[in-house]
Amino acid sequence: MKILVVEDERKVGQFVTQALSEQSYTARLVGTVAAARDALAESPYDAIVLDLGLPDGDGLELLAEWRGAGFNEPVLILSARDAVSDRIQGLNLGADDYLPKPFSVDELVARVRSLMRRQSGVPRSTVLERKGVRMDLLGRTVTWDGRAVEFTNREFALLELFMQNAGRVLTRTLIAEKIWEASYDMETNLIDVYVRRLRRKLETTAGPPRFKTVRGTGYQLI
């Protein structure tokens, strides 16, 4: 799987390419619009990580150009600019996902993986299971060691997000975006409150924690 990383900040780009390489993707880093054009003309890529502010042009124009030319592989936008309008504009132009800077490299990798999976058409399971918790997405029921546990809609959606990404660190940004469709921090401890509610329902004081707090970043379902 080959991924093109278009990022003019060399150090940021290196972090991204290194992290992707560790996940056994082949990542190539370019720093300008011109170099990105050349790279894509040279060889096909399975996905593109695209920074918007490039020294010789705008990433959004590049994206429009690719989509116009029939490039259908997933594109993830990386941007330091205004979260709200860039996000909408980018998604309208055909980007598949959007990640605002400063981002966590784990989150970037997770998102790229999820985009590739979506692309490869692996069917999603309608029943999720992890450590005694069984979640039926169609029946909207949750059982823990066979006993039914009640959840509100929001709690259910959040649990589903954790179950789909079990073992991975979920950043606040991602949770806010997926569950509340908020493009920036809601300036509340809403996420912590909901995670606490999940804990109350799915953790025992005696047992090991199920939802681990990753300080400064987010949460992780063990």
Binding site: E9, K11, V12, F15, G53, A80, R81, D82, A83, V84, S85, I88, K101, P102, F103, S104, V105, D106, T152, N153, R154, R172, W180, E181, A182, S183, Y184, D185, M186, E187, T188, N189, L190, V193, Y194, R196, R197, R215, G216, T217
Partner: protein
């Protein structure tokens, strides 16, 4: 204090016109008076000559003879003249009946005509004419002259009032007419806002003052336009310049984490660094949002939102947050309406108001959001049961970086866990409300105490 230029100019114009009118009328009155006195003097001279002829040249004739010669004539003109005749020695030889007891003094040194006040008769004009040996003195009452002058005065007063009124009207009309091009410039200038800054005022033909004013304004708009462009560029550049190093800090910090697995203290420090990076990022986001909202650069997509249905999802989160903070949240709706708003921004507004209310709520306190729909606006009222604010802070609470101190920072407040914040939350609220063309204000509740924040949003689809 006169503020309007039109009013000021009109008043000046009216004062000037009325002043000129007053001066003309005063001169007219003075001339009229002079003319009437001159007429009387002429009559006196004619009458004296006539009397002189009747008296003849013989100064030695008896008083009876004098009376005989002129009494008839004097009686005939009694309405007009008071007559007194002195002999060559100055002795009074004849006094007409209408003089009664009064005697006209011998003031020949004062000239032929002078004014004198006769007891019982009033002011008179006296003329003295030497006719042969006779010293004929003729006086006329000035009362009719005074009456004419009084009438003239009355008419002049009315004319003055009318003139003042007419000049006010004329002045106002004239000023309005003169200012019409200025007003048209003002209207156009008012329409130029952040979203159509490239528009310009049409410059009138010719090189007059108005054309140069229009050109000057257009130049100013040009400068403002380029400033706006700079703000746009700056916010974009600033976010890039600030966030790229922030991204690197975060990437490096995260990379460091696995190496600190065995070092508990080190890991805690790293977590602090990551948290502060997040906070810094949030402040940057908020400042950029505020600067963009204020300069009108923000592009917004409004959607029709059903009130109060749209608030349902949010209210569920609000209840959860309130419960977590040991408080209670209530949503009350009065009427239904649809308002055009940006959902993400309005949700942010509500969350900010809620977290502010929860921050100062006592344990078990109630936070209530009331939604009132009216014909042209929708009102959101967020009330808490905290201590409220000192009056002088109510107006400043929406300024940026203002962290307010509740009333009576005593028991209860200190025991509350301080929640993170950087004093931009309410400034953002104000900004969001203003982007929607609404207003926001804060006031203290009466009983029970607490803060009430009122957001009014116009319903304009």
């Amino acid at each position: 204090m006169i503020r309007s230029f039109t009013t000021r100019t009109t008043l000046w114009f009216a004062a000037l016109v009325t002043g000129i009118l007053l001066a003309s009328l005063a001169v007219g009155g003075w001339l009229l008076n002079k003319q009437m006195l001159a007429g009387l003097e002429l009559l006196h001279e004619v009458e004296s000559e006539e009397l002189g002829e009747l008296l003849g040249d013989d100064a030695a004739i008896s008083t009876a003879a004098i009376r005989d010669r002129i009494a008839h004539d004097a009686d005939g003109d009694a309405e007009l003249f008071l007559i007194q005749v002195r002999g060559s020695g100055g002795e009074v030889r004849f006094r007409s009946e209408n003089l009664e007891d009064a005697v006209l003094p011998d003031w020949s040194q004062r000239g032929p005509h002078w004014l004198y006040t006769l007891p019982g008769i009033g002011q008179v004009l006296v003329s003295t004419v030497m006719a042969g040996p006779w010293h004929v003195q003729i006086a006329s009452r000035l009362e009719p002259t005074h009456r004419v002058l009084r009438d003239y005065g009355e008419v002049a007063g009315l004319l003055l009032l009318g003139g003042a009124a007419v000049s006010l009207g004329l002045g106002w009309g004239f000023t309005r007419l003169t200012l019409a091009p200025i007003r048209s410039i003002e209207r156009t200038a008012r329409q130029i806002g952040a979203d159509n800054l490239s528009e310009r005022i049409p410059v009138p033909d010719g090189g007059d003052e108005l054309a140069s004013l229009s050109r000057l304004l257009n130049e100013t708009f040009g400068r403002i336009e380029s400033t706006f462009a700079q703000v746009r560029r700056f916010t974009s550049d600033a976010s890039h310049e600030l966030k790229t190093p922030l991204a690197l800090m975060r990437l490096n910090a995260e990379k460091l984490r696995p190496r600190l697995d065995s070092d508990e203290e080190g890991a805690a420090m790293l977590d602090n660094v990551l948290e502060e990076i997040g906070r810094l990022n949030q402040i940057i986001e908020h400042l950029l949002f505020l600067s963009k909202a204020e300069s009108g650069v923000l592009q917004l997509t409004r959607e029709p939102l059903e009130m109060p249905d749209w608030l349902g999802d949010w209210a569920e989160d609000a209840r959860v947050l309130a419960e977590d903070g040991g408080a209670e949240f209530l949503l009350e709706a009065d009427g239904r309406t649809q308002l055009a708003g940006v959902p993400s921004l309005l949700r942010q507004l509500l969350f900010n108001l809620l977290s502010n209310a929860l921050k100062f709520s006592p344990a078990g306190g109630r936070v209530k959001l009331t939604v009132k729909a009216a014909a042209v606006r929708c009102e959101w009222v967020m009330e808490d049961e905290g201590p409220g604010l000192p009056a002088d802070q109510l107006a400043r609470v929406f300024d940026r970086f203002v962290r307010y101190q509740p009333v009576g920072t005593g028991a209860g407040i200190e025991t509350m866990e301080p929640k993170p914040g950087h004093g931009l939350g309410l400034a953002i609220c104000k900004s969001i409300v203003e982007l929607h063309g609404g207003t926001i204000c804060a006031e203290n509740r009466g009983e029970p105490t607490g803060l009430r924040v009122i957001v009014t949003l116009p319903i304009a689809l």
